[in-house]
Amino acid sequence: MIPNLKTNEKSLIKMSIGGYVTQPSFKNPGYIPNNDGNSVILPGMYGVVNNVKVGDKAFGWSGDHIEPGVSIDSENINEHFALHYLVCTGNKAIVRSGEAKGKTGVVTGEHARNLIHFEQNTLEKICVGDQIDIITHGRGLKLLDFLEIEIKKIDPNLLKSMNFKVENKKLIVDVAIELPIKIMGSGAELNSEYVDQDLMSGDRSLMKQLKIDQMKLGDLIVINHADHRWGRSYKKDHVSIALCIHGDSVMTGHGPGIMTIMTGTKKNLGWKINKNANLKNILKIKL
């Protein structure tokens, strides 16, 4: 945390948007091919995941693309995109219908749906279809002393709670893990304001060697030579900081999901490895 971190927080808009708790869904027949071509069927995306949370391991679950907590979406396509372009990690969520009405949670990331953490006793009262409103805040956020660093989809309070230091006019961000650019996969086809990019976990021995298999949901990570300003591409000496938002996958080209929160160049953006750089610690999330 930098005490005098200057932001344009006061000119940002706080705007509500509603989503609905999603139903786990499969495409017929439900099987997906794993890295060896075998058909597997696993729980994963959508719905309310009762036992996987931010701070838990990203690898090793008997699941595919596990989304911790509650996944919300809208079936109206324009609302779906508004959820993706306005909701920021760290935003407050309020349950508007059902047994958990009035309870609050916190946004922990964005996959194909928005992911929200609730405490366990709230989680058990949440039903598929319940409306959850998010007080969106963060779109347009800038670090006024680092205007060349682009900030993406984080709540100003999350930004303020992160561990930073400034060295030679360069912002140094604490991250748990560094990912090599060559393992960045699915998601390169999307604009970088939408969802995430999977790291490709198919080379299992490399995952072990680099200790990427120790990654946790909510970890802050860095990708060197990645430019995430307008898409997700290789560019030498560009640096992107991201959050691990969903669990590993058995599919080729897939793996845990990484959602960009900052992108800059080596001139203005650096990192320091700190194993505790996880959203659970930064937001002091209660289980």
Partner: protein, 292 residues
């Protein structure tokens, strides 16, 4: 001389809208809009519940594209939404009919134009977190058909008698003298020209910053009553020498060309029968009782 109206002949009709969601276009289209220099931007835009922008705040300086202060509502069917947009008048009372904030009172402060067509309603900041997307809001619409005695050539639009009587308009030498915060020359009117004046918004053009300073338009606040020269909004919005229109600043500035702060037109005439009187207090917050 005091000005009188046909208020007693007007019909008070209930109309309803629901708190609406923000909307963005889908893939593969990119999410970005272009600013007036051609650079892409992605910022919150119209709709929804805006928690930290209210009537009385600056219309400039927000990281936003034409934000509506307070709460925006819409009716699901197109015809029903036209009903909501035409009948609702600035100054009308709104009541929340469902959800946690049920029974809370608000006030209509503006309307939005083509591509959004929403009615903008002020509610106190401290209750906004209790308002949910989809909550029903009822407006006791009152004002369509309003006529001003001795000024039959003046068309009233989206103007409630509640607001009109507080605007301190005087009849001097057969001209309406209307207190306004700013006078806007017709060449600075952008998006909205050619569209209906019974609902929707007309936007000031803010790309030329030196013109903004010249006319002090960079000081505009949400809720300011303004006067447009040589502009006729009697039926649709368009240029006409010696015509005039008076409106209220309903939404904030935006980075797009032609999309500065939005105006909801309240009065207009083709005749040279009005005069603007500059008064910095000519803002709806000083005319109608508001809880911030």
């Amino acid at each position: 001389m005091k000005i009188e109206t046909n208020e007693k002949l007007l019909v008070n009709v209930s109309v309803v809208g629901s708190v609406c969601q923000p909307n963005f276009q889908g893939l593969p289209a990119e999410p970005y809009r272009l600013d007036s220099n051609g650079s892409p931007f992605l910022l919150p835009s119209w709709g929804s519940i805006v928690h930290n922008v209210s009537i009385g705040d600056s219309a400039f300086g927000w990281e936003a594209d034409c934000i509506h202060p307070g709460v925006s509502i819409k009716y699901p069917s197109e015809a029903g939404n036209r009903g909501l947009n035409i009948l609702s008048c600035v100054g009308n009372e709104a009541t929340i009919m469902s959800g946690e904030a049920k029974n809370a009172k608000g006030i209509v402060t503006g309307k939005s134009g083509r591509f959004s067509e929403q009615v903008i309603v002020h509610f106190p900041k401290k209750i906004r977190e209790k308002i949910s997307i989809n909550d029903k809001i009822l407006i006791k619409s009152f004002g369509v058909g309003l006529k001003i005695n001795n000024f039959k050539d003046v068309f009233c639009k989206s103007l409630s008698p509640q607001l009109f009587v507080k605007m301190n308009i005087k009849n001097k030498d057969k001209k309406m003298v209307i207190p306004v915060t700013h006078i806007i020359p017709e060449h600075l009117i952008g998006a909205g020209s050619g569209l209906t004046s019974e609902s929707g918004s007309l936007h000031i053009q803010t790309t030329d910053s030196s013109e903004m300073k010249k006319y002090k338009l960079d000081k505009l606040k949400l809720g300011d009553i303004i006067y447009i020269e040589n502009y006729d909004s009697s039926y649709q919005h368009g240029f006409l020498r010696n015509a005039w229109a008076v409106g209220i600043i309903g939404q904030t500035n935006g980075p797009r060309a032609g999309y500065g702060p939005g105006i909801t037109i309240l009065m207009s005439s083709k005749k040279n029968n009005a005069k603007a009187k500059l008064e910095s207090s000519a803002n709806i917050i000083n005319y109608i009782k508001f809880i911030k």
